[in-house]
């Protein structure tokens, strides 16, 4: 009796801790022209978990984030060495279409940037250009509900999205990202331009979204990282202004028991 209960506990525990690697970075070096922005970054991102990237300014955390959906391609002169594996496939193979990558790995930016179109069209456009054939009204509703925005905007879907408040705009951007049904959502400091109440809402939303999506979030706010993330990667910058991954662990462990002195100094606010 007691042995079975022990077995049950163990299996349940295993199920809870079962984690599948969805993104794997292997020795990633990113350059802008001749400037080495990030060196030798290797880490695994786990499915349906929230991973936070923290670190001082210029440590390359946003650069690493943008390399995951090939957004760095947009910056002239940027090159990447190493591998970024998405479900085992290297995203930087020559035959990979960056457009498809971005459709599978969505992005939410620092500054809310809805399209200067109606709320409805903000959601529907991404689906339309990607060939969505279902019911658009339903898609708009589920996406807005998914981003906890439906109740606030359901009566004004035809209104221009730019008339929403900053926090609403950012949730609309999240709704827009989930409307094309990505597997991963990258968030580049999604709350840094928002007030504390709007920030709180975004954080709640992230915790809800992780049931369905893998989320990677760059943040300057240590509290935010500890509140929303399961894993935290701490990036540092060396004297040549090159960023590198200093420490990567479960969030609790990294904050309570940092292995490196730099990590400890950073999370306790000695620099940053």
């Amino acid at each position: 009796m007691s042995s079975t209960s022990y077995a049950q506990v163990v299996s349940a525990d295993q199920a809870n801790n079962y984690k599948e690697t969805v993104i794997e970075l292997k020795d990633v070096n990113i350059r802008y022209g001749s400037f080495l922005a990030v060196k030798d970054a290797s880490l695994s991102i786990y499915q349906k978990h929230v991973t936070a990237f923290i670190g001082p300014s210029g440590c390359g955390k946003s650069t690493v984030l943008r390399s995951i959906n090939r957004m760095n391609d947009m910056i002239p002169g940027s090159t990447l060495k190493g591998q970024v594996l998405f479900n085992g496939h290297d995203l930087y193979e020559p035959q990979v279409d960056a457009v498809l990558v971005r459709r599978k790995i969505g992005m939410v930016f620092q500054k809310p940037n809805p399209f200067p179109k109606s709320i409805y069209e903000n959601i529907a456009w991404g689906a339309r250009i990607n060939g969505f054939k279902g019911d658009y009204d339903e898609l708009v509703e589920t996406s807005l509900k998914g981003a906890a925005l439906w109740d606030e905007v359901k009566d004004k879907l035809k209104q221009n999205a730019l008339r929403l408040s900053g926090g609403q705009q950012q949730r609309l951007c999240i709704a827009r990202a989930i409307a094309v049904q990505p597997e991963i959502i990258l968030m580049d400091e999604p709350a840094s331009a928002l007030d504390p109440i709007a920030t709180g809402r975004i954080e709640e939303l992230i915790l809800e979204l992780k049931n369905d999506y893998t989320i990677i979030i760059v943040t300057h706010n240590m509290g935010q990282a500890s509140r929303v993330s399961d894993y935290t990667a701490f990036f540092m910058v060396d004297e040549k202004r090159t960023g590198y991954l200093q420490e990567y662990a479960q969030t609790e462990q990294l904050f309570l028991n940092p292995q490196h002195k730099k990590t400890e100094e950073y999370i306790s606010g000695k620099f940053g």
Binding site: N69, M71, M74, P76, V99, L100, R102, R103, K104, G106, M107, V108, F109, K111, N113, P114, F115, P116, K117, S118, E121, W125, G126, I129, N130, K158, Q159, N160, C173, R176, A177, A179, V180
Partner: protein, 419 residues
């Protein structure tokens, strides 16, 4: 070191403050002065044009109305019967036949008959014209002149009047109109727009959105800036060599049809329109590039972020928010083309044609050429109709620029309100 008095004592601070304030005031006045000077010049320009458009004209009739119908000084006083009689009796048979072939004399209205009689029988000749200010303040001079000339009389005349816009070209300044030149200008604008707009916007999209930042593209960009500053007469020489001479079979239309007027020799609306299209192309490219540059990158990024291709991003996101600026820039570029004279003179626009342009293979003249040609004539009255044509050109430009502003406001208002 004690820095307490490094900014000076209180009275020093105050006197320095006074000096700084005075300095600012002087510059403020300089800027007001330069603005006022600019406005003054504009007013002077407008005034000098309008001054020639209105004023007294001393005329002498070739045949006095009293001779036609005794006791009546003006054709307008003639009765219907007298009008018809004078027309049938006094008009030369050739003109009469031409007029009757359109419609018979009895079907003409009184007003039409009066103008026929004035144009072909009474034939007033202009002796001297006065400007608006002279007419107002030196009316005695006009009276003295009229008194000194036998059979002459003075009329206060507006040289710009409805029939001026629809009238034929004529060797008689009293009856000359700008219809042919106006139509020529509009045709040329149409051709210029059709070629310069798609090519210019296309090139701008390539240079701004696709071209990578390399040496070749930087050289290209620099050259486009330089081209926009090339004197327009050089485009005229280019147009003459390429469109009029080398491509004559195309621009004269002989390649496509044998029905065209082969006296044009490639000096057609098509050649003129293409030459002006070349002229405004760099301007349209630069204006469009500026419009695209003004679109924030965050919009492009958010579009790429949900899996849009480059073309989808440009077509659905970037162009809709920049279309108002692109259109404004294009219309302003076309306004420049509308006022160009030199390149069209070089490629050989007609100076006097009596036939309206009927298509892109027609000979043509344009408003600026008509103005240039009229103002070069020695007789005084031509200066007045040149001024009237200038006013017409300005009105056309004003309409185009207002259209540009209206379109821009309408589109950006639409963008603000919905979708």
């Amino acid at each position: 070191m004690d820095t307490k008095f490094a900014f000076g004592k209180t009275n020093e601070v105050n006197s320095l403050m006074e000096k700084r304030r005075r300095n600012g005031l002087v510059w403020h006045l300089v800027f007001i002065l330069s603005t006022s000077l600019a406005i003054l010049f504009l007013i002077l320009l407008l005034f000098s044009i309008l001054d020639s458009v209105f004023g007294y004209t001393a005329l002498r009739d070739t045949v006095s109305p009293t001779v036609l119908v005794p006791g009546k000084d003006h054709v307008k006083e003639f009765t219907r019967e007298e009008l018809e009689r004078v027309v049938t009796e006094k008009l030369s048979s050739g003109i009469l036949r031409r007029i009757e072939s359109e419609k018979s004399i009895s079907e003409h209205s009184d007003k039409e008959l009066v103008s026929l009689i004035e144009q072909y029988i009474v034939k007033p000749k202009v002796l001297k014209t006065w400007g608006f200010t002279d007419s107002l303040f030196h009316a005695s001079e006009v009276e003295a002149f009229v008194a000194g000339e036998e059979d002459s009389y003075a009329l206060f005349r507006s040289w710009i009047h409805p029939s001026f816009f629809v009238g034929d070209q004529s060797s008689d300044p009293l009856h000359a109109g700008i219809r042919t030149a106006l139509l020529g200008s509009l045709w040329i604008m149409l051709i210029t727009f059709m070629f310069a707009f798609p090519i210019g916007v296309g090139a701008a999209i390539y240079l701004q959105e696709y071209a990578v930042d390399n040496r070749l593209n930087r050289v290209l960009q620099l050259n486009i800036f330089n081209l926009s500053a090339v004197p327009s007469i050089i485009y005229g020489l280019l147009g003459l060599a390429v469109f009029v001479r080398s491509m004559e079979s195309v621009t004269s239309g002989s390649l496509f049809t044998s029905l065209t007027d082969n006296t044009a020799n490639g000096r057609t609306i098509l050649s003129g329109g293409l030459t002006l299209a070349l002229l405004v192309l760099p301007i349209i490219i630069i204006n469009t590039q500026e419009a695209l540059k003004a679109v924030p990158d965050s919009l492009r990024m958010s579009s790429y972020g949900i899996g849009a291709t480059k073309w989808q991003t440009i077509w659905y996101q970037v162009l809709p928010v920049s279309v108002d600026r692109i259109l404004t820039g294009t219309i302003l570029a076309l306004s420049r083309a509308l006022g160009e004279t030199a390149p069209l003179v070089v490629i050989g626009a007609s100076t006097f044609i009596s036939v309206d342009p009927s298509g892109i293979f027609s000979k043509f003249t344009t408003l600026p050429i008509q103005i240039y040609q009229w103002s070069a004539r020695p007789q005084g009255a031509y200066r007045n109709i040149a001024a009237a044509a200038i006013v017409s050109l300005l009105i056309l430009l004003l309409v185009m620029n207002s259209a540009a502003i209206y379109t821009r406001d309408k589109i950006s208002k639409k963008k603000r309100l919905e979708s």
